[in-house]
Every structure is written in C-alpha cells, then in structure tokens.
C-alpha cells in the first residue's frame, strides 16, 4: 500500500540512551520526553530543538510523564514524572512565553555528550533548568512506577506500578497530594492508566492480561468493569475522544442499521482501545443501561439498583487488522480525526481508520432487536447479543456496521530499534498546512523522538 507517513523531523539533540514516552503539552507547542537517563527532555514542536532538560529528581529511569490538563493550571505548566525508583515527581513552571524554540541549538549540541545529565553545565543552562521547579515527590509505591495520568475532569492523578496497584491522588492546596485510593485487584504489574474524557472513570492495563475500569462507588473507588480477552500483557489503554462518534462523518442519510449503531454508540459513550503483547489491538465498548423510570413502590430497594448501576459491562467491539508481528507497545487515538496509530517492538508505525462498512450487513435482525430493546424491560441480554452480532461483523470484515482498515504502514521507523510510544500531536512548525493538522510523535529505544506527517 502507498504509505502516507512521511518523516518530518527528529528532535535534537537526541538522548543517548533509550527514551520511553513523549507527551505533548495540552496547549503549548512543546513535548516532554521521558528518558532512561533519569531526565525529562523538553522539545519544541516549532523547531524540534531541545528547550531544556529536567533532571535531578529521580534516582532511576523516568518511565513516564504526563501534563496536567489546561483546566485549572492557571498560567502554570504542571508535569508529573513516574520513575523506576518507585516515586513520582511533580514539576512546575510559569508559562512566560519563552518556551518556544528560539534556536538554542548549538549549545544543545554540546550537551549530548553528557546525555543531558542533571543540572546543565553552564550558567545560562542553570537558569534555564531553574525555571522548572521540583514541587513535590510522591512516595508510596513499592516498586517501579510504570505510568501516570492527570484526570481531565477533576484534580486527580493516577499512578500505577509493578507492585500491582493503582493509586489515585487528590491534589490539595499547596502541593499537597492525598492518596484517595489504592486499587489492588490486578494480578500483575499495572502497565498503564488512562482517564475517561468526560467521566471520572479510570482504565488500567496489566501484566495479568486484563484491563480494568475504576470508578468511585459512593465514596470508595472500586473496580467497575473487567475487560478480559488479551492473551498477553496489556501495554497501553486509551479512551476515544468524547465525541469520537462524529469521526464517522455526517449523521445525514444513514441507513436504519447505521442509525441504530450511532444511537447505541451515543448511549455507550467513548470507547476504549487497548494493545498488547499478544500483538492485537482491541476496541471495547460499554453496554449502556436502560434507566426505566421506576414505579414508586420499587424505590424502596435502592441498594440493588445502585449495585446494578455501579457495575458496568464492556464488550470487545472490534479488533483492528493485525499489522504487527511483535508486541504492540502503544496506540494513540486521535481526538480530532478518530484515526488510530500503533507501534511496537517490530519498529513499525501503523495508522488505522474506521469507516461505515460499504456492504450493509444483515441489518433487519439488528433493527428488530433494537425495537425490542427500546421496548424497555430487562434489556441487558438482548443488548448483549446485538453487540455480539455487531462484534462478529465489525472487525474490519465485510458485513459489519463499521470497519477498520490500515491506511498507512511504515517499517524501520527508528532504524532497527523498538518503538516504545506513539502519539498524535497538533502540528506547530512553519510547515503546518491546515488548521488542526496533526503530526505523529514516536519515541524509540534509539533515544530519538521523531515527528511524522500523515497525508490522506
């Protein structure tokens, strides 16, 4: 297939050792890269040069980093770092507009000998570093922190670790973080955490091959759904954008089947995508619950209802076409285009797209089922077997309502090295062609952070 991925730039200077993950800033054109040399490197998305190195906070590799969302960060950037030293760090920096790449290139050049070891080596550097303030360190996990994420809807931070637990921290005034939950249902390392875009729901993927969803039940966080199916470590999970459904295009002239599907999707809310050591990428969808307005008599028994409300049911809706031949380490779901990019041990970057499947499948059955469903009553089972049917059809094969297809595939993206992370980011360099143009940012074992443009 003609590849639509083009190498745009490589952030320089590159790290001399493995880099794990890159996180684009929520609104500034900068990128934070977690490096195994115990630092985080900040690169400009304008000229792809290194702006500064954040170091000195951790004793071992920084495995992951995450920005606090724009909401509530009042003119201050907040970055969280998770390290193999079992601690998480919170860093702050005032947004004074000096963050864009103003050609500090040569000087960066000198730096790559020391691999940007903590604390730059000349005065100017110092002051540069100084702008990043090490605010607080979060201790608690017994072993390596693998991943962390700030909640978009509340002052919450989630961290997860090889100690099999997920911790949820609430940010209080004055750099105080209070542990609000320690979730331990996972049977193995928790590899990744991701927040639901609009609800206070957290997803986590684990070495035990499961994905779990967590939610506050009254005032206790607990596991509200268990998504089993993967046959290997789950390396990454991510939610679809809040209105991902519209990626499918106009809601006009949909056929019956498609309308039913859209309806179901709207009820279900954003889907979840997960990738795994088993080389598969799966899309999961919540099975919505009917909220029948209850006759007065029945309100007496809330407990049951509450329980029923709390526990959610998620089903594997689709499986993306198999394009990887080794473990898949990361997937990224574009909030803007609904496209999915994946990468992993085989060094490939693959982009997938979801479309209405051309061949309209056996729609009637679904239609009836749907009617029956809207008929209210005990809807659960029907809903299931509908989804089950959809599920059958919808993994890129003929007959489904939607189908996923590979639209771009590129080998050896980081020479022969493994690629640990890929993510969509808004394009900010001079070459930007259209409003909302996105680039892909890939992070590899070769220590390089590469930028790719995608063309359709």
């Amino acid at each position: 297939m003609p590849t639509h991925l083009t190498h745009l730039a490589t952030c320089s200077p590159a790290c001399t050792t493995r880099t794990w993950l890159s996180a684009p800033h929520p609104h500034l054109p900068i990128l934070a890269t977690a490096c195994s040399d115990k630092t985080v490197r900040i690169y400009s998305l304008r000229d792809f040069r290194q702006l500064s190195t954040i170091g000195g906070g951790h004793k071992r590799s920084i495995r992951s980093c995450a920005w606090k969302g724009s909401t509530g960060s009042k003119g201050e950037s907040v970055l969280a770092t998770g390290s193999f030293d079992a601690s998480a760090g919170i860093w702050r920096r005032w947004e004074d507009g000096r963050v864009s790449g103003d050609g500090r290139g040569e000087r960066e050049g000198e730096r790559d000998f020391t691999g940007g070891l903590a604390g730059g080596e000349n005065g100017a550097e110092e002051e540069e570093e100084d702008e990043w303030r090490f605010a607080v360190i979060l201790d608690g996990h017994d072993s390596e922190i693998k991943s962390l994420a700030f909640a978009p809807t509340a002052p919450l931070l989630a961290t997860c670790s090889r100690d099999k637990s997920v911790w949820i921290w609430e940010e209080l005034e004055g750099d105080n973080f209070e542990t609000v939950a320690v979730l331990q249902e996972h049977g193995g390392d928790v590899k990744c955490v991701a927040w639901h875009p609009s609800e206070e729901v957290l997803a986590s993927g684990s070495y035990d091959d499961d994905v779990r969803l967590w939610r506050e039940d009254v005032d206790d966080w607990a596991c509200c759904a268990l998504l089993s199916g993967h046959e290997g470590t789950v390396w990454w999970v991510e939610f679809e954008g809040a209105d991902g459904i519209y990626a499918l295009g106009s809601q006009e002239e949909l056929n019956e089947e498609q309308r039913v599907y859209v309806d179901a999707r709207l009820k279900a809310g954003p889907r979840l995508i997960s990738c795994s050591d088993d080389m598969t990428i799966r899309i999961w969808r919540r099975v919505p619950k009917e909220k029948p307005e209850l006759p007065a008599g029945q309100i007496k028994t809330p407990s049951i209802w509450k329980n029923r409300d709390f526990e959610e049911e998620w089903v594997e809706e689709a499986r993306l076409p198999q394009a990887h031949e080794r473990p898949v380490y990361c997937v990224s779901w574009s909030r803007k285009t609904g496209r999915v990019a994946s990468t992993g041990s085989d060094g490939k970057i693959v982009v997938y797209e979801e479309k209405w499947s051309r061949a309209a499948g056996v729609a009637n059955g679904d239609g009836d089922g749907d009617v029956a469903m809207s008929g209210g009553g005990d809807a659960g089972p029907d809903m299931e077997d509908i989804t089950a049917k959809k599920l059958k059809g919808s993994d890129g094969h003929k007959g489904g309502v939607t189908e996923w297809s590979v639209v771009a595939e590129l080998e050896n993206t980081h020479d022969v090295f493994e690629v640990n992370h890929v993510i969509w980011a808004p394009r900010a360099d001079k070459g930007k062609r259209i409003e909302d143009e996105e680039v892909l940012v890939s992070t590899g074992d070769d220590g390089e952070v590469k930028i790719w443009t995608f063309d359709t």
Binding site: S61, K146, Y207, G347, D415, E418, D445, D446
Partner: protein, 195 residues
C-alpha cells in the same frame, strides 16, 4: 551453603564435546604445519608488494561472515552458572540446537529474531530467572540492535517456565532489573567469565 543448592551434583559435559566453530569449520582452510617454514621476505615488510601483506585483507574483498547460531552459542555458553563455578555450556543449560535465528519476515523489515531455549539444571531450579536474565542481558549487549532476543525456558524442563518466560519477555521488567544494583552484580558475576 552447599546444601541449599538446587542441584549439588550436575552432569558435566566434557569441553571437547561442546560445539565449537573450530570443529565445524571445513578442514580445507586449515593452516599447514610447514606454512611457517615458507620463505618470508622481511625486506618487503613495507607491505608494498609482499604476498603476506596483500593477503592481509584489503578491506574490499571481505566476504561477510553472517552471525549464526554458533556465534550466539559462543556468546552465552561461557556465562557461568550462579551456583556452580561451571559454564552454562558445560552444564548443558544452553545448547546449540536450542538456538534459532529467524530472518526478517518481510523484504522491507530488517529485524531478525534470536530465540534461545534455556534448560535449567533441575526442574525446580530457583535461579532459572536469573540465568535467563543473564543470557538475555548478554545477548542484548553483544548482538547488533537489529536482533530481537527471545529467551525462553525449554518446554517441559521447569515448573515455573510460564512465569519466567513472561518476565524475560517483558522489556520493561528487564530494563528495570538492570537498574537494580544487587541484581546487576549477580548478572555481572555470571558474565565475568565471558571473555
């Protein structure tokens, strides 16, 4: 301390039975005993025209020697067992026939895969993971990055194979392990005997 070894008296393979390149090499190439006596021309030592100099590979005419199973074996067979002062080769923990090199799966890919099956000295060997880690680390450090290294326990030789395989296959865990000084020391001691 002898007592708590998992296997105090393992069978030892005689060094001369261990696979080695010298032996598998065709004898045609072998240097004759009298070669040393062939006329030498020291006054040609300026290497301008002397036969010996021209034979000393003008870098162009090097036919490449591919990395093969034997080479992988040589890299790991000299690792020493953490509980015996013996090499993994002589203990039969690593065997040439249990090493496989898989070429790139597509014309466009450059990634080859090395698979090594490790045979613990006893099915209950508590050090299996460490041994596997040693092999993995050695190969990751010694093979070019275009190789993916899969170290697994030979099926049916260990009670804990599943768990161990999963750990060794987890790059994140291996990376973290290699930042743990005490583990690193254990591994380094095992690798110290690799010349």
């Amino acid at each position: 301390m002898e007592a708590d070894k998992d296997n105090v008296n393992p069978t030892i393979i005689n060094p001369s039975d261990l696979p080695s390149r010298r032996r598998s090499a065709p004898t045609a190439k072998r240097a004759g005993l009298f070669d040393a006596l062939a006329p030498a021309y020291p006054s040609l030592a300026d290497g301008l025209s002397s036969p010996e100099a021209s034979s000393s590979e003008p870098s162009s005419d090097e036919e490449p020697e591919e990395i093969d199973e034997q080479e992988v074996y040589d890299l790991i067979s000299t690792i020493s067992d953490p509980e015996h002062p013996l090499s993994l080769g002589s203990l039969g923990v690593v065997k040439l026939e249990d090493i496989a090199i898989l070429p790139p799966t597509s014309a466009r890919s450059r990634i080859s895969t090395v698979t090594v099956l490790v045979t613990p000295t006893t099915s209950a060997c508590s050090l299996t993971t460490v041994i596997g880690l040693g092999v993995k680390v050695r190969l990751v450090n010694a093979l070019p990055p275009r190789f993916r290294v899969d170290v697994r326990i030979k099926p049916g030789t260990s009670s804990t194979a599943g768990e161990v395989n999963k750990q060794l296959g987890d790059k994140e865990r291996v990376a973290a392990a290699m930042e743990n000084k005490s583990l690193v020391n254990v591994v380094n001691n095992m690798l110290a005997t690799c010349e």
